[in-house]
Amino acid sequence: MPISSPNFADWFRAGLNEVRAGLSCRDVWIALANEDIGDQHRKSILGPLWLLLNYLAFAGAFVLIFHRNSGVDNFGAYVAVGLFVWQNLSDVVTRSVRLFVGEQSFIKGTTLPLSVYAFRLTMQTLIRASYSGLGCIGLLLFLGVSPNPGWLLACLGLLIIVLTIPAVAIVLATMGAFLPDVEFIVSNLMRLGIFVTPIFWYPAGNDSVRALLYHYNPFTYFLEIVRIPILGSGPVIHAFTITTTIMVLAWILAIFMIGRFRRAIVFVV
């Protein structure tokens, strides 16, 4: 592949190989992700249970402060599910931007495919989410939401989220490697995100600012594919269509970007 003749088909093929090679190294990223989570909580008494407590504290505070005038049935459950998805998504987005820069010693010292780092991040998120997920389920049961067939659909929603994460991680990590300012833009946006995403509010009418934020914020739909099925609060086809489309587009973009930039990344991180 000479550099002088950029060819989309070549980039795509190279990107696909990169992703496939990363998948076949799953022993590596599963082991590293487990170590990462262990390291973060080593020497603390509660260990990763802090993730659960952190989630419960957040959810509790939101419910107590905002439950009045929320206009939502079972506001507690609404917040519980929304916050669970949001915390993990925002975690992924903020970490992704620094992913390749943070792994520079590995990138410069091994021949592991770059996608390994994206899968490792996904795995870390899964482990973390399993703790806050326990809190979420506990909270739902406490608030009187009993398991029902809708939860299966919510699992499908979670699966779409998990499958989207590596693609988003690759895209953001590549951008962050070449354009260091992206890190600051993204971390600021994500701090705002908790307010402009429908986690503890619901759009009342159709022409309010809230309605605009609700409809044009892609995170909304990732929250809704889990939240609507659990709360049984309405049709969910629309949200599934949008999130599946985002997932597919993210993967196409990720494969192109990793195929196009994979050999330059070692020089910029």
């Binding site: 590995f106 091994t110 021949t111 070449f178 020089f267 910029v268």
Partner: protein
């Protein structure tokens, strides 16, 4: 199939790959214009050689001549911007042997992690782990966190993991010093043994004696180009071009 390692007109240009508009915004228009004029730094230029099973190549040259860069290209960390590298055989590399060790994990767990990073299967790690532990002389410390090790112990473990391989193609950057004098002796013996059992060895070093002992061919790099490529018997280190002047004299 025969093991071989071939570099065909390998060139590598270090180019600051940040997009131009970004450089313009960040460092100003002048920086952007300079960037567009300069094509980047050429770290390797048309390097070619072919090594067959049994070949031991010594890479020599002054600091900055491109030895480490060439090793990284041969390993696959850098992809050449021109030409290609053909590897026929499993490649293992001995540089940066401390990479990936985790302070909080035990020595034993670190062996597993390092093995996985090297691309070993869990079964292969399982089969080797006792040998690695024995060679490292860590004894019961192997089940203590890596962070509690002295520098010498850490170096011994890193060395033991890194050298417990049966590579077909082995790439090494300098000789690795690890541990106290007695371990050094053991380590040298092991490296010598590795260089004997590997199909092909490429060793970058400033140590003439070592190169003479291990290698049968020498490739002299100067400013990223092959200044000379010759059998060890014909190598006269004094002929090496001096730093900075006469860089491209005798092309091999």
């Amino acid at each position: 199939m025969m093991t071989y390692l071939e570099a065909k007109d390998v060139s590598l240009i270090y180019r600051v790959a940040v997009p131009r508009f970004y450089v313009g915004l960040r460092d100003g228009q002048r920086a952007r214009n300079e960037r567009m004029r300069s094509g980047g730094v050429e770290a390797l230029h048309n390097v070619s050689f072919r090594l067959e099973a049994g070949d031991r190549l010594g890479l020599v040259g002054h600091n900055g001549a491109g030895k480490t860069t060439l090793l990284k290209v041969l390993y696959g960390i850098y992809e050449p911007t021109g030409g290609e590298v053909v590897r026929n055989g499993r490649v293992d590399a001995l540089f940066n042997i401390n990479l990936g060790f985790r302070r909080n994990a035990t020595g034993r767990r670190n062996i597993v992690l390092r093995g996985l990073i090297n691309g070993w299967s869990p079964a292969r790690i399982e089969a080797r782990i006792d040998e690695i532990i024995a060679f490292s002389e860590l004894g019961d410390f192997i089940d203590m966190p890596f962070g509690t090790y002295s520098q010498g112990m850490a170096a011994r473990l890193a060395f033991s993991v890194a050298t417990t391989l049966d590579p077909e193609i082995l790439l090494m950057d300098e000789w690795i010093g690890a541990g106290d004098a007695s371990f050094q002796k053991k380590a040298s013996a092991r490296i010598e043994n590795l260089t004997k059992t590997a199909g092909i060895v490429v060793l970058a070093s400033h140590n003439e004696k070592l190169i003479r002992r291990v290698c049968n061919k020498v490739l002299i790099l100067s400013h990223g180009e092959v200044a000379d490529y010759l059998p060890i018997a014909e190598w006269r280190p004094d002929d090496q071009p001096a730093t900075g002047v006469g860089g491209r004299s005798a092309a091999g």
